[in-house]
Amino acid sequence: MALLSVKKLNISVDVPGGEKQLVRDVSFEVGKGEILGLVGASGSGKSLTSMAIAHILRREYKVSAEEILFDKRRMDLMSEGELCDIRGREIAYVFQEPMTSLNPLLRIGRQVAEPLEIHGIKFSTKVEKTEAVKQALKEAGLEPTRDLLRAYPHQLSGGQRQRVMIAMAFICNPSLLVADEITTALDVDTTNVIAELLLERRKRYGTSIIFISHDTKLVERVSDRILHMKNGEMLENHESPEEAERELMAAKRAEEAEIRAMEGSETSDEDTDEQSASGNKIAGRDKNNALNAKKVILEVKNLSFAYSDRSVLGKVTLKPVLKDVSLVLREGETLGIVGKSGSGKSTLVKTICGLQKSNEGEIIYAPGSEFPQMVFQDPYSSLNPARSVGRILYEAVRMGERRAAMKGEKKRVSKTLARQVVFDMLKSVDLKSEIAYRKISELSGGERQRVAIATALITRPGIVILDEPVSAIDANVQEQILALLKKLKETFGCSYIFISHDPEVIAKICDRVLVIEDGSIKEKR
């Protein structure tokens, strides 16, 4: 008998003027010790479906099901208290957003131990409990040092935080793990290690896993069986992976055609340009030559930076992160910076933006490019989730005016005009104007990233710095966002610095690429 069986699950929310059905009549089963893959485009309802199992959706979502049977018990009929008992002990979750999924104020050791406390798992001594925490961290591939237990989430990298989440999920030895896009924000190496970790877990403890991802290859490698979701519905069960892939490719092609149609209607000459690939290459090289002649709008000279780390004993050590970095950015170009996680990419851009002071070196802006705007990997942490999109953009307009005033350019547009600017901007990033009234927390990952881009561009900055802007979103949407960024650069005439750990993404969009390794520029391409 299956460990989990979901029958006719429906999820909806109240929206102004009615009810919106987000998930429709979804049914599926997960066997004991089975790894079930769940794939589908962003916004297809995978997250909502998985969160409905242990009912951890926010109150605004209305969930109903014919039956949710877990380990012979009716989850859909349980009281909140009974559900709390099962959550974290028998059904555990790991989510996509490692950067924001841990409580910023609690030490790692406490957070990992918390499920043990909640579920009354007693230890005779404190040392034993700490041992259990250390064991869990070790099994998740982390060195369980005292420093790690005492660290706060912001002191860890994305990969480390995700491992902490995994340790926390496994600490009570659950029979079902829901892993929702847990590797999407991570680099390839870390992704592979984490996939191995899940397989190992299943082998040793017989844990059932629902593995959600948009990465078909990865899902195939990890899962025993794959289900597809689209527009809130479960597609027919696929017996063979080939069939699954065909289905997905078709969906992808359809989506791409849609994008092309959308762009084509606006700039038809660009379309013909892309069709003649060889001609394009030559044009590209010409462009490169032309670039050398273009005006330099940002120059970074011999930048160095080190974090001062204070150990528990108060000893201060300097940890060099950037070593003698120099670069130039020219008008209208897209400069790629590629490097592994931890190589100093984000520190570099933070320093360029003035969010952080360098120890040494110089940063020179051309007039008009003094205030570079940033787009981050995870818009959730940079945009206030409780604010409406319109409000955020409106504030960005006003913020831009204040910055201009600092330079002595006074101009404050009327409220009506500012609102018009906001709606125009939404249109430029291909979002419907209706989105202006939604909260950030109600948007999908791709939509949020579009809002983040709109926020950065709305003040018409000379330089936009994109720090892993597409790393947390799935492949289909990634393509759309890259296409959008290209289009916006033409329209707004700005320059990009594009950071990524993914050389493939970099190759798609950048005119010139710098490779950063251990804090210094290693090669120029």
């Binding site: 969160m51 242990a54 951890i56 926010r58 109150r59 909140e80 208290g81 709390c84 008992d85 099962i86 959550r87 974290g88 002990r89 555990a92 979750y93 989510f95 957003e97 924001t100 999924s101 841990l102 409580n103 910023p104 104020l105 609690l106 918390e114 499920p115 909640i118 579920h119 706060y152 912001h154 989440m165 926390m168 974090y307 001062s308 780390d309 204070r310 201060v316 959730y380 206030n384 989730p385 409780a386 909260k439 927390s441």
Partner: protein, 314 residues
């Protein structure tokens, strides 16, 4: 540590600037303290003599430096009106104002945290809606009216609390509390309403964060999520707000002091302005400005202590 020293240095500089500006302001506003003390029919010679005695001669800068030198030694000059040192005059009144403020702050803290939690537990639920209306009323109601109604109901009709005259806490602490409770409620209600509304909004937006979903997925109940995870995060975002409220309350409320007959700073300030008693006004203004600056500094320092994300490296 270096950070705290830096903060205190900037605090001192800010206070110096404020003290200079107030000094300057009183130097340029029209009206002559010597004339107002002697009356209109004093001879020019008499006025001149008194000006000399009161230290009104010389350039603004030299007078300011002299004042600053004295102030550094704890001598803020003499009141023109009462012929007694300003410090003595103020310290008497300060006791009443600070006493009232402390009782008010305790009330604000004790009630606003639970009420905001109650309100934010189910946003837009029945409890939240009722509390929203109540806080709106609390913010809108004029303090003098609140004071009068409270005195009437609890002091005179029910006689639960003493209404008579002010008792110093050093003389009779119980009597002081019983006298202070009604004025403290009048001070606390509007501030408490602001605090409840602010904290409630912080909690509601905090609840939308991803870590709250994690907390729920671990098996935490609704209350545990609020108390173990959300509350501290929300309170951090309300620190500065609370510091500003504390500064306002400590500055004293002229209206409440007037209604309840409390010999506090607010009343002294009004009287001193009317009498052109510049040394007194100067020190009270400085006290109020210092409160704001000091509370702000304390707020900044407490961020450092409670929020691990704020770097402690320097």
């Amino acid at each position: 540590m270096k950070y705290i020293i830096k903060k205190i240095a900037s605090l001192v500089i800010t206070l110096l600037i404020i003290s200079f500006v107030t000094f300057l302001a009183f130097a340029v506003i029209p009206g002559d303290a010597a004339v107002s003390k002697l009356g209109m029919d004093a001879t020019p010679e008499q006025v001149e003599e008194l000006r000399e005695e009161m230290g009104l001669k010389g350039s603004v800068m030299s007078r300011y430096l002299r004042w600053l030198g004295n102030a550094a030694r704890g001598n803020f000059g003499k009141s023109y009106r009462y012929d007694m040192p300003v410090t003595e005059l103020i310290s008497e009144r300060l006791g009443a104002t600070v006493g009232l403020a402390c009782v008010s702050l305790v009330l604000i803290l004790v009630f606003s945290v639970p009420l905001s939690l109650l309100s934010a537990a189910k946003p837009n639920g029945a409890v939240d809606n009722v509390l929203t209306i109540l806080t709106q009323i609390g913010m809108a109601i004029p303090q003098f009216f609140l004071g009068i109604v409270l005195t009437l109901v609890f002091g005179i009709l029910l006689s639960w609390f003493k209404t008579g005259s002010y008792v110093s806490p050093s003389v009779d602490f119980g009597g002081f509390l019983s006298f202070m409770i009604l004025p403290a409620i009048s001070v606390a209600i509007p501030k408490m309403s602001m605090m409840v509304k602010y904290l409630r909004d912080c909690i509601v937006s905090e609840k939308k964060n991803d870590y709250v979903r994690t907390a729920k997925a671990k098996g935490n109940g609704e209350a545990a999520i609020l108390f173990k995870h959300v509350l501290k995060n929300a309170v951090i975002s309300a620190i500065t707000f609370f510091a500003m409220i504390t500064a306002e309350v400590l500055a004293g409320s002229i209206v409440v002091e007037q209604v309840f007959g409390i010999p506090g700073l607010g009343r002294l300030l009004v009287n001193s302005i009317n009498n052109r008693d510049f040394p007194v006004v100067n020190v009270i203004v400085l006290y109020m400005a210092a409160l704001v600056v000091i509370m702000n500094t304390l707020a900044d320092i407490s961020y450092r202590i409670v929020d691990p994300r704020v770097s402690r490296a320097d």
